[in-house]
C-alpha cells in the first residue's frame, strides 16, 4: 500500500467530469510526475487531494486513513501541503513570517521552534538573505521558492507542486530541480505537475498522464514518452490522407 492513494477519484463540475475514475498511488520518497494537456484535470486532482474540492466518487487515502471530505487545513496538518500555480505569498508579511505560518499552524510549533525551523528551511531554499523582506516585494522566482519553503514548513510528508516552475528561465529551473532532489533526499514525497516536459521527464521516478480527466498512461518517463495514447493526446491522432 502506498503512502498516499487515490481510489476511483471522480469530480464533476456540472456534467463535466474534470477528474474521472482516477487511481494512483505514491510511495514514500518517490517523485511522481503528473502531466497532461491543458484542462486534463491535473490541478483539479490536486485540489481533490488537498480537500479544496470534495470528490463526487472515490476516496483519498493517506497512510491508510481516508482523508477525502476533510477541510484543507486538516489535511495539511495530516501531512500534505501544496504550492499554488499562482503564487500567493502573504504579501505584507516578511519572508520569514510567511514560512513561520506554515510551522505555527501546520505543525503546531511554538514561536521559538517555528522561527528556528523557518530559518533553516529558508537556508535550504536559499532565501536566507531575504528573510526580512516583505514577501510582496521579492521576485517571482523567489516567491516560488517561498511557496515551497512554506509547504516544507508545514511539516508535510507529501508536497504537491502545481507548476512550481512556470515562468522560470532554464538556469532557474535547473536550480529548482536540484532543490527538489535535495528535498526528496530528506525523505519527502513529491507529486509534480508541470508543463515543461524536460523537467518532468528529468526528475520523476514515475509519471501519470491525464487526458480529459482520465488516466491514460502510467510508467517510467521513457515508457510514457513512447506510449501511443500519450502521443495522441499531445499531438493528435495520426491521420492518413492518401
Amino acid at each position: 500500500m502506498g503512502l498516499l492513494e487515490g481510489r476511483n477519484l471522480t469530480k464533476y463540475f456540472g456534467a463535466l467530469a474534470a477528474v474521472n475514475s482516477v487511481d494512483f498511488s505514491v510511495e514514500k520518497g518517490e517523485i511522481l510526475g503528473m502531466i497532461g494537456p491543458n484542462g486534463a484535470g491535473k490541478s483539479t486532482l490536486f485540489n481533490v487531494i488537498m480537500g479544496v474540492y470534495k470528490p463526487d466518487r472515490g476516496e483519498v487515502v493517506l497512510k491508510g486513513k481516508t482523508v477525502s471530505g476533510l477541510k484543507p487545513h486538516k489535511i495539511c496538518r495530516m501531512g500534505i501541503a501544496k504550492t499554488s500555480q499562482i503564487v500567493q505569498p502573504f504579501a505584507q508579511m516578511s519572508v520569514l513570517e510567511n514560512v513561520l505560518v506554515g510551522g505555527l499552524y501546520g505543525r503546531n510549533l511554538s514561536f521559538t521552534n517555528a522561527t528556528r525551523e523557518a530559518e533553516e528551511i529558508l537556508e535550504l531554499v536559499d532565501l536566507g538573505g531575504l528573510k526580512e523582506m516583505a514577501s510582496g516585494s521579492i521576485t517571482v522566482p523567489h516567491r516560488r521558492r517561498l511557496e515551497l519553503a512554506r509547504a516544507i514548513a508545514t511539516g508535510a510528508d507529501i508536497i504537491l507542486l502545481d507548476e512550481n516552475m512556470a515562468g522560470l528561465n532554464p538556469t532557474e529551473i535547473e536550480e529548482v530541480l536540484k532543490l527538489l532532489r535535495k528535498i526528496r533526499n530528506q525523505g519527502k514525497t513529491l507529486i509534480v505537475v508541470e508543463h515543461i516536459m524536460r523537467v518532468v521527464m528529468g526528475i520523476s521516478d514515475r509519471i501519470i498522464v491525464l487526458n480529459y480527466g482520465e488516466k491514460i498512461a502510467e510508467g517510467t518517463p521513457s515508457e510514457v514518452a513512447n506510449d501511443e495514447k500519450v502521443i495522441q493526446a499531445y499531438l493528435g491522432e495520426k491521420v492518413c490522407f492518401v
Binding site: 495539511c76 501544496k82 505569498p89 502573504f90 513561520l100 505560518v101 506554515g102 499552524y105 523582506m133
Partner: protein, 309 residues
C-alpha cells in the same frame, strides 16, 4: 515608556480640576477608541469589512438597559452579560457570513444589524407584550458622574488595545494576517480559517456589547434608532481608516483625531462642520491611504529593508 507616562497621566486627569466637559470628552474618546479597536480586530486584521458592528453595540445596550431597568441588576454584571450575549449572537451570525467574501460579507452584516433593529422595534407589537418597548425606548436608572464613565471607558480602552497588541504578536494574529493576505494559502498552510475568523468576530462582538452597555447606562435613555444607528458603524470604519487599518494603535490615533476635530469644529462652525470634517477625511485618506499609523509604519519598513537590495 511614552505609553506608560500617558497612561499614568490619564489616570490622574479627573483629579486635576479640569472641567466636566473635558472629562466627558476624554471619556467619549476612550469609548470611541474601544469601539474602533473592536472593529479593527476583525476587519483590520483580516480585511473582512464588517458593516454590522453596531448590531452588537445595540444588542449590548439593550441587554444592559433591560437588566438594569427591569431586572435591577448591578451595572458591572449587566455589561458583562451584554458582552456575553453579543458574543453568543456573533457565533451563529459569523459561521455562515464569514464564509462570504468582500462586499457580500459587508452586505450580510449590514442586514444583520438592520435586522436586529427591526426586531427590537417590532417585537412588542407582534408578540403583544411590553418588553423592548419598541420605538419608545428604555429609560435606565440615573448613573453616577462622568468620572465613573471616564474610568470605565479608560479600562475598556486599555483592554481592547491590549488585546489587539497581544493578537498582533500571537500565533492567532499570524493566522488573522495570513487570512488578510491570502486566505486560500492560509488554509493550505494549516490555518483553520473559518474558526479563526469566527473567534476574532466573537472577541470583537463581546467588547462591542460591553461598550454598548456602558454607553446605555451613561446616556440613561436608549431607543433602537439611537443604538442601532448605521452611522456608528461608519464612524468606526472611518476612524480605523484614518488611524491606520490593521495596526494596533491606529484606532487610538484615528478615534482621538476625529473626535477632537468634531468637537472643535462643532463649537466654532455649528452649521458647516460636517462639510469641513468630510474635507479633512478626504485629504487625509488621499495623502495617507494607509492611515496615519500605517504610513509611519511603512516608512520604517522601507528604511529597514533598503540595505538588503
Amino acid at each position: 515608556m511614552v505609553v506608560i507616562l500617558i497612561t499614568v497621566g490619564l489616570l490622574i486627569v479627573p483629579f486635576g480640576g479640569f472641567s466636566e466637559y473635558f472629562i466627558r470628552l476624554l471619556a467619549m474618546i476612550f469609548l470611541w477608541i474601544g469601539k474602533t479597536g473592536c472593529w479593527n480586530i476583525l476587519s483590520g486584521f483580516t480585511g473582512y469589512i464588517d458593516f454590522g458592528a453596531v448590531g452588537y453595540y445595540g444588542v449590548g445596550s439593550y441587554v444592559t438597559a433591560l437588566l438594569m431597568s427591569k431586572g435591577h441588576a448591578p451595572f458591572l454584571l449587566s455589561i458583562l452579560v451584554s458582552g456575553l450575549v453579543s458574543a453568543l449572537i456573533a457565533l451563529p451570525v459569523g459561521l455562515p457570513t464569514l464564509r462570504l467574501r468582500g462586499a457580500y460579507f459587508g452586505i450580510a452584516t449590514l442586514a444583520f444589524a438592520e435586522g436586529m433593529k427591526q426586531i427590537i422595534l417590532e417585537f412588542d407589537k407582534t408578540a403583544g407584550v411590553n418588553f423592548f418597548e419598541g420605538p419608545h425606548g428604555i429609560t435606565l436608572p440615573i448613573g453616577p458622574k462622568n468620572e465613573f464613565f471616564y474610568y470605565i471607558g479608560f479600562g475598556i480602552m486599555i483592554i481592547v488595545i491590549g488585546i489587539a497588541y497581544w493578537i498582533r504578536r500571537s500565533k492567532f494574529g499570524y493566522a488573522l494576517r495570513a487570512i488578510h493576505e491570502a486566505e486560500h494559502a492560509a488554509e493550505l498552510s494549516g490555518v483553520d480559517t473559518l474558526r479563526t475568523k469566527v473567534k476574532a468576530y466573537m472577541i470583537s462582538a463581546f467588547f462591542l456589547g460591553l461598550i454598548g452597555g456602558v454607553e446605555a447606562y451613561w446616556l440613561t435613555y436608549i431607543t433602537p434608532h439611537m443604538v442601532f444607528d448605521l452611522l456608528i458603524t461608519i464612524q468606526m470604519v472611518v476612524m480605523s481608516l484614518l488611524g491606520g487599518i490593521g495596526t494596533v494603535f491606529g484606532p487610538v490615533v484615528g478615534a482621538s483625531f476625529l473626535t477632537i476635530v468634531y468637537e472643535l469644529l462643532h463649537r466654532d462652525f455649528p452649521y458647516t462642520y460636517t462639510i469641513i470634517v468630510g474635507f479633512i477625511i478626504v485629504v487625509v485618506v488621499l495623502l495617507m491611504p494607509k492611515g496615519i499609523m500605517g504610513t509611519l509604519q511603512t516608512k520604517r519598513v522601507i528604511q529597514k529593508t533598503r540595505p538588503v537590495q
